[in-house]
């Protein structure tokens, strides 16, 4: 490992210690520490691209308790001059307490970088969302219901308000759906950009795929049950910024970027 590689890792370790002392970089959105250790990653029962299920060794990281909100994103825009979220002015999607939507991968990455953070890797997302033993959902293996997640209709891909929200819900809603570490809405509400390129877990990505798409995770307010999973992988053109259901959260990560 080069010095340049090792040094940031040390700094990140120090930052997590600072976080534990109350130094969260994004006001109102604390970083929740996820300890290092083995955890289940992937699935043998989902789509082909989710396989194989195996146990891997995870590094410690810290993840935002909630998705990044419009208010938090607006502060970033005001401070940096970065372009606004596409739906920042929408009467529902643009509300201060709702997760920001209408952001490209680069928009999301720039936000996290501004606060000294990164987007999660797929492994970090799954560890945060599934715990160490690979549960189906952040709250365990009980089926999804209207008290635990903001989800869509049974048939892809329309929103419904059976959970109280026809579109996005406040980022701190659905406490009954929290992970065991207390992270909210890891399934439902909005898809969340990860920093990983889309590729098979094993082997090489085909040339027309390799390095072209980024992965989003978790499903959204308009997702049907087949998409509301902690292992479903949604690959999208990273420039796309018109998703009314695509947002993100950040992590303080020890893992090297892919």
């Amino acid at each position: 490992m080069s010095i340049s590689r090792a040094l940031p890792a040390l700094l990140i370790t120090a930052s997590i210690a600072t976080t534990a002392a109350g130094g969260d970089p994004i006001p109102g959105n604390p970083l929740i520490e996820i300890p290092a250790g083995p955890f289940v990653f992937g699935s043998d029962s989902g789509n082909e691209n989710e396989r194989p299920r195996r146990v891997i060794e995870g590094q410690a990281f810290a993840i935002n308790r909630t998705e990044i909100t419009n208010a938090q994103y607006r502060r970033f825009v005001d401070a940096t001059g970065h372009r606004s979220a596409f739906y920042g002015g929408h009467p529902v999607l643009g509300l201060d307490d709702r997760p920001v939507v209408g952001v490209s991968f680069d928009d999301a990455a720039a936000f996290c970088a501004y606060y000294g953070l990164t987007l999660p890797s797929e492994q970090e997302y799954e560890r945060a969302a599934r715990g160490t033993d690979g549960t189906a959902f952040p709250w365990g293996n009980a089926p999804i219901d209207a008290t635990r997640a903001n989800h869509g209709a049974e048939l892809c891909c329309s929103g419904d308000d059976s959970d109280g929200y026809a579109m996005t819900a406040p980022a701190d809603s659905f406490p009954a759906g929290a992970s065991r570490e207390g992270v909210l809405n890891l399934v439902g509400n909005v898809w969340e950009w990860t920093r990983d390129f889309y590729a098979p877990y094993q082997g090489q990505a085909p040339p027309d795929i390799a390095g072209k798409y980024r992965v989003l995770r978790g499903g959204a307010w308009n997702s049907d049950p087949s998409h509301l999973s902690t292992t479903y992988r949604l690959a999208y053109d990273p420039e796309f910024r018109f998703a009314a259901n695509g947002g993100f959260r950040c992590v303080r990560s020890l893992a090297p970027a892919q």
Binding site: G89, P91, C156, W191, N222, D237, R241, A244, N245
Partner: protein, 340 residues
């Protein structure tokens, strides 16, 4: 318009990015270019979000989805405010309010969207309205959801509903529109979509989108309807269909295909078709500024001529009784295209 009844896993919302952009900024990116034989100029009227247009004896009428204003412009005069109607942003981010306008006798007809999605429904929402000579606004029918296009036909009116994806006929004296034709979804080869997401649009699987009717015109014994198509608006994914005006067994025929998100259709003098293309959709920018076009279609030969290029989200085209055309843009000024 609602582009995504059957959305992909990622729900996209399109129009609007440029609708609120400063017009000067838009113009800096694109200057409309007229075909040889025509000259293009800006009309001296400012619309925040240009929408409908109509003409009678040289007097022009406009609707503005940004302000809700319905305006009259007599030759050589400043605009006169006739009415102010509700405006808003719909559930998927589109501007909504007064859409198209038509002249009928001494009154105007206006198709009307609704107010913001988080506000209570108003009495003029989802409606066909009339604006009477004294300025009073009257509700003719509220039997629509998103009545985007309007075409009077004799004593009746054809209305296309971009929410219900259907063509309706409303008879004089009635407030209950009759569904005249329901548009099936448009099929696309998956290849047009795979570049957006390989997991949502797998290789070899066709994909279909809502037809979303946006414009309607009557002529040559048929009703012409512009079908905008749906997300992600692949190049050439829109079309103009014609439906014979007959009592039963109505069939839609593709009259003009390979269009980029057509928003309006009109019958030109001489029987040809005028078609407005909203523009080309780009993943990173949405509908690209300056990518809209006004086309003239020769129905006998199928030849298409680009009368005006470089438009930004054009909404309405009308042929003028004095010659030439007027085009409104959601993202730019009102233009007149006149023969040289």
């Amino acid at each position: 318009m609602r582009p995504l009844a059957r959305a992909s896993a990622i729900a996209a919302v399109i129009i609007g990015a440029l609708a609120s952009a400063p017009i000067d900024a838009v113009l800096a990116q694109s200057a409309p270019k007229a075909e040889a034989g025509f000259v293009v100029s800006e009309l001296p009227i400012h619309l925040k979000v240009g929408s409908g247009a109509a003409e009678r004896d040289g007097t022009l009428f406009f609707t503005d989805m940004g302000t809700g204003k319905v305006l009259r412009v007599d030759p050589g005069s400043s605009p006169t405010l006739l009415a102010t109607l509700p405006v808003g942003v719909d559930v998927m981010g589109f501007p909504t309010g007064p859409y198209k306008v038509a002249v009928e006798g001494d009154r105007l007809l206006v198709t009307q969207g609704w107010q913001d999605v988080n506000r209570s429904e108003g009495p003029q929402d989802h409606a066909l309205l009339s604006i009477e000579p004294g300025g009073a606004v009257r509700v003719i029918s509220r039997g629509f959801w998103n009545p985007y296009g309007l075409a009077p036909t004799g004593a009746d009116w054809f209305v296309v509903d971009g929410g219900k994806n259907a063509l309706f006929l409303l008879s004089q004296g009635s407030s209950e529109p009759i569904e005249y034709f329901a548009f099936p979804r448009i099929h696309h080869a998956a290849s047009a979509l795979q570049s957006l997401s390989p997991t949502e649009f797998p290789t070899g699987q066709p994909y279909d989108v809502d037809a979303v009717p946006t414009g309607v015109a009557v002529g040559n014994g048929v009703v012409y309807v512009a079908l905008f198509g749906g997300f992600p608006f692949p190049d050439g994914g829109g079309e103009i269909v014609s439906i014979p005006i007959v009592a039963t067994n109505r069939q839609a025929r593709v009259q003009v295909g390979d269009l980029n998100a057509p928003t309006d259709v009109a019958v030109d003098r001489g029987g040809g078709l005028l078609v407005l293309e909203f523009g080309r959709f780009e993943v990173g920018r949405g509908f690209a500024p300056g990518s809209g076009r006004l086309l003239r279609i020769d129905l006998a030969t199928g030849e298409r001529t680009v009368l005006l290029a470089g438009l930004t989200q054009p909404a309405t085209v009308i042929p003028l009784s004095t010659g030439g055309y007027v085009v409104t843009q959601m993202g730019g000024p009102v233009l007149r295209l006149a023969p040289k």
